[in-house]
């Protein structure tokens, strides 16, 4: 599909974006997973990234935390350092049967303040207990993480992110395989972050959830399909175009000659 004739109303990139994407192409083994994406995430915005499987959503988040080098174009962070970003990967490489308890796991969120050597005093511990209360896990402090359900563990990871005090929060399918009650509680946390003017970008699948809770949406299908107000982006015509995206790559694909408009 030719991206050149697609007209998009991307958010105005001049209105102080926190993260600017410039003609960004990402991929694996030279095959693009995200193709020629330009635009910006405003400071304080709450954006859902949606699209079919293989559309490049997770890839985009990885590039924003610097875990993946772009094939082309660039990601520019404005006034942000890597320490200002909290990233919840889709499949965290967490060792779930590791002998560590809930409170110690949450306390890792203080890493920026305590580093390798500094001790963790009562005040920081108190904040961790508050964070556990926010995600509804009071009383679980000394429970080993191996004894938690998937939903409870996701709550623990959210509590850790609460302590990270990050300006940019990236969530990769945070509610997949999580029950409705936990999802509702964690969505409250996301709303709380939005209220604190933090920038939140979440990869999601549930379009009803996106319509209900996320003011802005980026619809990706390898090519950017639409980006802007959720109601406009999730229009039926856009969704049909996104669904038409061919999954997988063409082994004989030629070199991309497209020039930047």
């Amino acid at each position: 599909m030719g991206g050149g004739n697609v007209t998009l109303s991307f958010p105005d990139a001049t209105a102080a974006p926190l993260v600017r994407l410039t003609d960004l192409t990402l991929g694996y083994r030279r095959h693009p997973a995200v193709h020629h994406l330009s635009g910006g995430f405003r400071d304080g915005s709450l954006t859902a990234v949606v699209g079919p499987n293989g559309a490049g959503k997770s890839t985009l988040l990885k590039a924003m935390v610097g875990a993946l080098r772009p094939l082309d174009g660039r990601v520019t962070l404005h006034g942000l350092t890597a320490a200002d970003i909290a990233y919840l990967p889709q499949q965290a490489e967490v060792e779930r049967d590791f002998p560590i308890d809930v409170l110690d796991t949450v306390l890792l969120g203080h890493w920026r303040r305590v580093g390798i050597f500094r001790s963790i005093g009562g005040a920081l511990r108190g904040q961790a207990e508050e964070a556990l209360a926010v995600v509804g896990l009071s009383g679980f402090e000394r429970r080993p993480i191996a004894a938690l359900s998937a939903g409870q563990f996701q709550r623990v990871l959210f509590a850790r992110m609460l302590l990270q005090d990050a300006r940019l929060i990236l969530l990769d399918e945070p509610f997949t395989a999580i029950d409705a009650r936990t999802t509702a509680d964690l969505l409250d946390v996301v709303r709380r972050w939005h209220g604190e003017r933090r920038t939140v970008i979440a990869v999601l699948h549930d379009l009803e959830q996106v319509r209900a809770h996320f003011p802005e949406t980026l619809l990706l299908a390898r090519e950017p399909i639409a980006w802007g107000r959720t109601a406009d982006v999730l229009a039926p015509a856009n969704l049909v175009r996104a669904r038409a995206m061919a999954e997988g790559w063409d082994d004989k694909a030629g070199l991309c000659r497209r020039t930047v408009p």
Binding site: A67, A92, V94, E95, P99, I100, L108, W111, I116
Partner: protein, 294 residues
């Protein structure tokens, strides 16, 4: 024979038994926590591979300087470190996973070591390299083992936090650890150095082939007794030292080689823990007791 005569007299009577006991204590203090971290990092077999990788270095040290502890120790350290670094490097710059590249390099190293050993023919001293001489450990040997234990405990105390996080959630450490995400790699490297150091300490007591025994068996046993990292490390140290004492007594009374005796006692401790320990053992699986109310 009373228990006192069995367990205490040999150490009171013979200086070589006291030296061996001190060497065992030092080895236990270093190997216990290192072994626990190896188990937690799912690197148990890598410890084994590394202990084999030490062999050619020790053999070359032996050829160059005879039965000199320092020559063999330094040779073994360099060989083990080279294998660890090359394996780590290959896994970071190519698609091959670390365990596969480890296997490749340690096999090369081991074959080289065996070749060097066999070129010298059957040499009694070289048998000591392979099977250890804890009953003949001299002052230099004691100092080496004690020095390695001290360095190990100091470094572990300094790097405790990032080492634990690197095992538990490496992605998180990459994101928050600073040093452009290199902190995890740095910790891994320092940890590998500690593993090689402790294997070098163990090989002159237990031999290259069994040095890893005092590291892995108590660490694996500790998993059945303790649930926190600190308690795991303490349990492993205690079990290793107990195996040392038991093995030395066994070897003294039954006139058995000391290295295999110590490792076999540690092995017996492992089997007992596996059967009877309070955490996740066969006993708790088969006889869990009545379930609780909540």
């Amino acid at each position: 024979m009373t228990l006192y005569e069995f367990a205490v007299d040999p150490f009171l009577e013979f200086a070589f038994m006291r030296r061996a006991l001190a060497a065992c204590l030092a080895l236990s203090l270093g190997c216990g926590p290192v072994g626990v971290l190896l188990v937690l990092r799912r690197m148990s077999l890598m410890g084994d591979a590394m202990s084999h990788a030490v062999l050619p270095g020790a053999a070359i040290g032996f050829l160059a300087a005879g039965l000199s502890l320092w020559a063999m120790g330094i040779g073994g350290f360099l060989a083990g470190l080279a294998v660890a670094l090359l394996a780590g490097l290959v896994s970071r710059v190519t698609a091959l996973r670390e365990d596969a590249s480890f296997a490749a390099f340690y096999l090369i190293s081991l074959a080289g070591g065996v070749l060097i050993v066999s070129l010298r023919g059957s040499n009694v001293d070289l048998m000591h390299v392979l099977f250890g001489t804890i009953l003949a450990v001299d002052d230099a040997g004691l100092l080496l083992v004690a020095g390695i234990a001290s360095v190990t405990l100091l470094v572990l105390a300094l790097l405790y936090r990032p080492l634990v996080v690197e095992c538990f959630d490496p992605g998180f450490l990459r994101a928050v650890g600073g040093s452009r995400g290199r902190l995890g790699a740095l910790c891994h490297l320092v940890f590998l150095v500690l593993v090689v150091l402790n294997l070098v300490g163990g090989f002159q007591a237990l031999g290259t082939l069994m040095a890893v025994g005092l590291m892995m068996l108590p660490a694996a046993s500790a998993r059945f007794w303790a649930e926190g990292i600190a308690t795991l490390a303490l349990t492993a140290m205690a079990l290793a030292f107990a195996s040392g004492i038991g093995g030395l007594l066994l070897s003294f009374h039954l006139n058995l080689p000391s290295g295999p005796s110590i490792v076999l006692v540690a092995g017996a401790g492992y089997l007992l823990s596996l059967a009877l320990g309070p955490v996740g053992s066969l006993r708790t699986r088969w006889f869990p007791g009545r379930h609780l109310e909540a």
